[in-house]
């Protein structure tokens, strides 16, 4: 199977999970498409080096998570270059976009994604993998940290997310 066919087949099978991961990192719809395409680009470039020693899904999650983290760094830098007024304006736009069905039309799921968007980048990675229902071992392989650490972090993040989720719920009335 040539590279192009192999790539197409992998993307066909995993497009949804790549997209879902991007949803957890990027609030803005257009930006999310950019990150999604960047992730596909990095998958394409890395395909020759992928020897199948790990699961395809693990490889995909790693590449996508690293791409998203890279994007957050670039994005933060870009925002730092903006003046204070446009930064405030942009934050408002991002907030509005967060409300535009990140992955589902449901208000509560939307609110959940909004809360995820407020987490620190690394925590977003963990939550996105948790929502993919990966095992602790799977998350540990992707992140390169111990399983015990993954468990501790997930436990803490679930509590933090739940608190944020309930607070925003009260705020909404």
């Amino acid at each position: 199977m040539d590279k192009e066919t192999r790539f197409k087949s992998i993307i066909e099978e995993n497009r949804d999970r790549i997209w879902r991961l991007c949803c957890c990192y990027v609030a803005d719809e257009n930006e999310r498409h950019d990150v999604y395409q960047d992730a596909l680009g990095n998958l394409w470039r890395g395909l020759d080096g992928f020897e199948g020693r790990s699961e395809v899904s693990t490889w995909i999650y790693r590449v996508t998570a690293n791409t998203c983290l890279g994007h957050i760094r670039t994005e933060r830098r870009r925002r730092e270059l903006l003046d204070a007024d446009s930064r405030v304006e942009e934050m408002e736009i991002v907030d509005q976009n967060l409300g535009e069905e990140p992955a589902s039309g449901n208000d509560d799921v939307r609110r959940l994604y909004e809360c995820i968007g407020r987490l620190r980048p690394v925590d977003r990675t963990l939550v996105s993998l948790y929502l993919e229902e990966l095992s602790t071992k799977g998350m540990s392989d992707i992140l390169g940290i111990s399983e015990a650490n993954v468990r501790v972090k997930i436990h803490r993040l679930k509590k933090e997310l739940k608190r944020m989720f309930e607070e925003t719920g009260h705020g909404l009335g």
Binding site: N66, T67, G144
Partner: protein, 218 residues
């Protein structure tokens, strides 16, 4: 709906129709992307070949001139002239090889590594000077200093022949130290402006990721 339901629904929720959001069908989206990626790969390869060609050619020219100094020795300071030319050739070849390696490293960033390792490597790339580069930079700096010193002393003895050579050496050391400090300072300022924010951001991400290892182990 409560928290648990929201989590369950988020886990079950399938990605929206990516193709529809992109305003195209999925196949065409991927096909278009593949074409662009292939073009980018080809452009990267061409750029790498151009760089190697340029430095290779410049190095070859200097090696040729160096060889000529043996066939037709220059009238003044033939040994110094040869040494300067030899060092220049060495510098060009080293810069060529180093640039090619840097370009290859940047083009070949491996996104498939575990996040922790990926961040560790990114931190190394964004550092002001990393240990691996020092192995190249220090010898390179020594060679450039030697070459510049020889050139300076040759010119000094030609144009300021009535002064002692120790004056020439001192003046070179003052000039070279000043130029080197200024060069490092400018490099550091550029790094602070362009790369340091990424560097510190990556470092904080790594700290976040590693935080809890001890607690988890306890």
């Amino acid at each position: 709906m409560d928290w648990d339901d929201a989590i369950e629904r988020a886990k079950r929720s399938r990605a929206p129709d990516v193709a529809a959001r992109a305003g195209s069908n999925a196949g065409r989206l991927v096909d278009g992307l593949i074409s662009r990626l292939k073009a980018q790969d080809e452009a990267d390869r061409k750029s790498m070949r151009r760089m190697v060609f340029f430095f290779g050619l410049a190095g070859a020219i200097y090696i040729m001139i160096f060889t000529l100094t043996w066939i037709a020795p220059p009238d003044t300071s033939p040994v110094t002239n040869r040494l300067v030319l030899a060092l220049f050739s060495l510098i060009l070849v080293s810069v060529g090889l180093w640039s090619a390696r840097k370009a290859r490293d940047l083009a070949g960033i491996d996104y498939a590594k575990p996040v922790d390792l990926f961040l560790r490597e990114a931190e190394r790339r964004y550092r002001f000077i990393n240990a691996r580069d020092l192995r190249i930079i220090v010898p390179f700096f020594v060679i450039v200093t030697g070459t510049a010193g020889l050139g300076w002393m040759t010119a000094f003895s030609r144009y300021f022949y009535w002064l002692e050579s120790s004056t020439g050496l001192i003046s070179f050391l003052i000039y070279w130290s000043g130029a080197s400090v200024l060069g490092w300072f400018v490099g550091w300022r550029v790094w602070m402006k362009k790369r340091a924010p990424f560097f510190y951001e990556i470092r904080s991400m790594r700290a976040e990721l590693d935080a809890g290892e001890q607690d988890a182990g306890a």
